[in-house]
Symmetry: none
Subunit: 480 residues, 2 copies
Amino acid sequence: MAESWVNSAQRIGVDLHLELSGAGSRRAVLGRALRDAVRDGRLAPGTRLPAYRSLAADLGLARNTVAEAYAELVAEGWLTARQGSGTRVAQRAEPVVRGREPRPGLRQTSTRPTSDAAPRHDPRHDLRQGRPDAASFPRAAWLSAARRALNAAPHEAFGPGDPQGRIELRRALADYLARARGVRTTPERIVVCSGVAHALRLLFAGGVLRGPLAVEAYGLPFHRSILAAAAIRTVPLEVDDHGARVPEAASVRNVLLTPAHQFPTGAALHPERRAAVVDRARARDGLVVEDDYDGDFRYDREPVGALQGLDPERVVQLGSVSKSLTPALRLGWMVLPEHLVDVVLAAKGEREAWASALDQLTLADFIDSGHYDRHVRRMRQHYRGRRDRLVAALAAHVPHVVPTGIAAGLHAVLRLPPGSERRTLEAAARQGLALDGLAAFRHPDAAPTAADGLVVGYAAAPDHAYGAALEALCRALPPG
Amino acid sequence: MAESWVNSAQRIGVDLHLELSGAGSRRAVLGRALRDAVRDGRLAPGTRLPAYRSLAADLGLARNTVAEAYAELVAEGWLTARQGSGTRVAQRAEPVVRGREPRPGLRQTSTRPTSDAAPRHDPRHDLRQGRPDAASFPRAAWLSAARRALNAAPHEAFGPGDPQGRIELRRALADYLARARGVRTTPERIVVCSGVAHALRLLFAGGVLRGPLAVEAYGLPFHRSILAAAAIRTVPLEVDDHGARVPEAASVRNVLLTPAHQFPTGAALHPERRAAVVDRARARDGLVVEDDYDGDFRYDREPVGALQGLDPERVVQLGSVSKSLTPALRLGWMVLPEHLVDVVLAAKGEREAWASALDQLTLADFIDSGHYDRHVRRMRQHYRGRRDRLVAALAAHVPHVVPTGIAAGLHAVLRLPPGSERRTLEAAARQGLALDGLAAFRHPDAAPTAADGLVVGYAAAPDHAYGAALEALCRALPPG
């Protein structure tokens, strides 16, 4: 080759120095340069290569030449090309430092529900609770919101942030929560955080609230482990069809509840109990911490408003977009009584990991532009359909198993004959079906009850796999 | 480089085969080849290298190029140069991976400079350190990366995340850090976090490392307050023009350093000290925690590689995009010795606030597509210009005040006559100028020294306001 670009060195998009020299066609020279770069590790496994168009422009080549060189290297196994993820350097053994094996399931412990952790080995059938349908994330709408938000953001948005959270997001949340959840607040009383776990850490490990704390006898294990790590003693409250029973006489001042949709039993806290729990907090100078974890999803009844609306000075409302939108954003909030705002901010500290300001601005736009409401409505329809299919499958195949707690949320509870929970979970595991039993959520100090049951999350399975998951569930359930 | 010697293999005097290829200047290529040869044992400890003159002749390079490459490797601790005995490969023991014994920690301290906090009331003139130029965030490039990343992401990216961080980002970081900072790692040894503060919390409050801990006598107050909150006793190390002095005899096993650019004095840790601190960690079964807080910004000299490259099993490298891109993303990383990965992940927990997966995917694309390199190069030019204006303003108006620590980073230190620091800060405040004195960074147990000075951050002020800020600074400085 005698062309002028030969023997020139080019920096391609990934900041790689390509030596374009030697004999052969342009395609051959480019192919050789890329092969060398992969071989000696300058292009690491998994590295995404520039699009044909941009590499062609950088090197002054025809787009086809680049496409052909890529195709040749894909055919030779140096590169991989996958729809949607572009052309990447193939995964091979690491050339330099020997890596670690992928970690074995750290999370596989007996006291922990399978669904409380990130999935490392995807089960064949997934009916774990606590996760939304990942395939439904509104990518295009989110990207438009990100574009509007980033273009509109003042320069200071890219400087050190306010640990309380962006004012744009706190305004949008104050408005949305008032409208959708009956929360009474101002933006000044909202603190943005990474989610409910982060909020609990700030409140308890941060020393804002001190123990002991009354909690529901069945509840989210991550609540309990955060409280245990903060050395907060917890006292279990009995849970029935009207939610948690908070005895008037109990000595404990502060209480943590899931009033709108008790987790996992699915009950809404009875109106009389709602009033009583707030009165009790006033009488004892205590606080109610309300985990409003799936308040957006109601099907057969009007939404139950947040307890916080009864007394904003006695109730801390915690929420996040983890169920309504995605847990991948790590965005949540605390709505605080006025006297706690500065205390929580002091616990958070100037350098506490707060949520990405860029995502905060995007979420603010997403809410303000109506996309959040639209998404929630769409998902409500979607999850209602999922729930109806669960109910219908049970009625058709195992009519003796009656689902409960199905008026709201992303999961149902199937009651089982006493003593059959473990056996049923084993049968489910043999079907390759991941889900949890009620026992995984029971407080260790709770009175032993005969409550056996399965907690069935109907949101997480992909659409195409949901039918098969339901069939596996019906096969695993004990015969009537 | 396009010259013909690139990609040629050369046999140097000690009968070593050097592979001279890849990106960068001649000096960089030679440096890399020598580093590789030491690392993989082709150049044994103690081996004497050829004189500059003879290696330059062998390779067809300028003598200065060889001298500079040697100096760089000496600075990084790969080589030693001693009067009369020439340049030799440094003596270091082979790395050994061993478990460590925890030790009890004790008490606490804290101080806080003005610039460690988010600005609630903007000062008239801003020369605070620790923050990049917010106006330079590359909005359009970031949005394109976000679009590509979100469109290419698999559905599972919107489900519960891996607390270790997205593999796409860990791959991109492993590649970038190897290339730009000489870090030796695999993606499996990286844990994504929200920044250096989060990393320190995981290591110390999370119980991964126990005190006491040797720290630089001048350092970042947020380091100290996190350590204090974790009840880690800290022992100050004297800091001089060659960085921190780590006495051989000191009993403390673990040490926290800013080796590439001591904060705030600006010294690079002396090559002998670099080697010694790693040797010391090996001998005592200790660890070095390296805060590589502004490693990307060097002006008048070649970058000093990360200390981690000397021994990946003895050094934890911490970094973030807070200086290089923006603190608004809350994205950082820890490069860990293999035996600490699972320990750190256990401390992090499945529900620990991890960084937004969407931002992680976007940053991975931003790095892989070359935008990160381009941005860093652009900002290096920009900050160098800022620094030069500071130096020029001082020379013109207060020539008796000499800036130090200016070869790198986003700040300089102006030494003041003993006893004049507080007065000068008061004069600055009267000008509406926000900046810090050296005292704000001194460890409370450090020996009282006569080191008075100002820490001048030259990155944060907006372009249009920088000139006025410099004028205010010159007016505030004591007359000669």
